[in-house]
Amino acid sequence: MSIKKSPWIIHYDGSSCNGCDIEVLACLTPLYDIERFGIINVGNPKHADILLITGGVNQQNKTVIKNLYDQMAEPKAVVAIGACACTGHFFAECYNMLGGVDTVIPVDVFVPGCAARPEVIIDGVVKALAVLEKKQQEKVTA
């Protein structure tokens, strides 16, 4: 069965200003209702297929992000949400910042925006589904 029909996401807030976090949670509300696509927001990396990260990476949360990524079962995908998660944005020059999420773990989809809108976030997750399916097929053929 294709992983496309039941992607479970876990959401981690890096050093975000909470703008993108609110938009991610808005996806769960009746207006956007991502459970329509079988998407559930789980609180456990071991159950999740897609890791959503908002905010940039700093010295304190880089190990957390790496841990979360390592604890997820294959196949898995990472979506960086918002300008900060993509590049570090205007926090990039701070002394404690490493930059975007791709400085610690491989990122599959970059979702731009400050803050990223719920429609774009859902689009990003859908893009991640294609990545997941490809990884699953590679796992089967390997």
């Binding site: 992983i3 009746p30 329509r36 696509f37 927001n41 609180g43 456990n44 071991k46 159950h47």
Partner: protein, 283 residues
């Protein structure tokens, strides 16, 4: 021979029925929250996906204990449909549950341990009432044999309204629904990590879901046994009870464990034991 066939039919049909019930449950829950909700077949998609994922096994016992749990839970449902002894079915279900707790205890994760502790508390709260229900059915029908209970002319419900109420009360615990979903919940938003199922990933988690399907059908069959002489009334009662459980799930927040334990035991004592004592005196 007939009993064997019924048992196997029960074991094979249970995942189909329980998966559909789970899907309808999720749609109704979504409607109650003003959302559209997932497709009805979503539980099947979830389980199939989980089977295709990597299994993160933590130690030698972890996955095997889940399989043991599955075997005993499936056996409990099989025995129930085969019309065997009601007490034996209940004990098999409890053993299945204990294996699940052992699997959670076998890991080092504090969240998993916490979930296992709470699962034990839930069993402590729910099992007395379920055993009393079996005793009540024995007092009302004169037998523990499910075949005889199901083919009897009198429904147990007319002697056991109190026991039935008590059973519905602890059913919330067995179905893992709010306010008594202490060990693990269907809803991520009221969970610290994931309680009992924290350390299960991929196929292990799929087995965990399937075990829950069998448990759901088991307790629903227990409800049905109260109305066994009138099958249609029985099925309607099961549907109403399940709808009530969804409603209770949606209008309640999780309670603390001491309130769950105390209230479940008070209900068991007053409605369960009280009903049985009245039945003993009056019959």
């Amino acid at each position: 021979m007939n009993a064997w066939i019924w048992g196997i039919v029960g074991i094979l049909l249970t995942p189909v029925v329980a998966g559909l019930v789970g899907g309808i449950d999720r749609v109704i829950t979504a409607k109650m929250q003003g959302r559209m909700g997932p497709p009805v077949l979503q539980p099947f998609y979830d389980v199939m996906k989980l089977f295709s994922k990597q299994n993160l096994v933590l130690n030698r016992f972890h996955h095997d204990l889940v399989i043991c749990s599955l075997i005993f839970t499936v056996a409990a449902v099989g025995l129930l449909f085969a019309g065997e002894n009601l007490l034996m079915c209940i004990f098999a279900l409890v053993v299945g549950n204990v294996f699940l707790v052992l699997a959670a205890y076998s890991t080092n994760s504090p969240y998993s341990m916490l979930g296992a502790d709470r699962e034990l508390l839930q069993m402590l709260a729910a099992e007395p009432m379920i055993l009393l229900a079996a005793v009540g059915i024995y007092m009302a029908t004169g037998t523990f044999d499910i075949n005889l209970i199901a083919s009897g002319t009198h429904s147990a419900i007319q002697y056991l309204p109190g026991v039935f109420f008590g059973l519905i009360y602890v059913l919330t615990i067995k179905l893992r629904k709010s306010p008594f979903d202490l060990s693990t919940s269907h809803h991520a938003h009221q969970e610290l990590v994931k309680g009992l199922s924290t350390e299960f990933a991929g196929p292990s988690l799929a087995l965990f879901e399937i075990i829950h399907w069998y448990e759901t059908v088991f307790v629903m069959a227990l409800i049905y046994l109260f109305f066994a002489s009138r099958p249609i009334v029985g099925i309607v009662a099961v549907l109403i009870v399940y709808f009530l459980e969804i409603l209770i799930d949606n209008i309640n927040a999780r309670v603390k464990w001491d309130l769950m334990l105390a209230s479940a035991w008070v209900i068991t004592l007053i409605f369960g034991l009280g009903n049985l004592m009245l039945l003993f005196i009056l019959k």
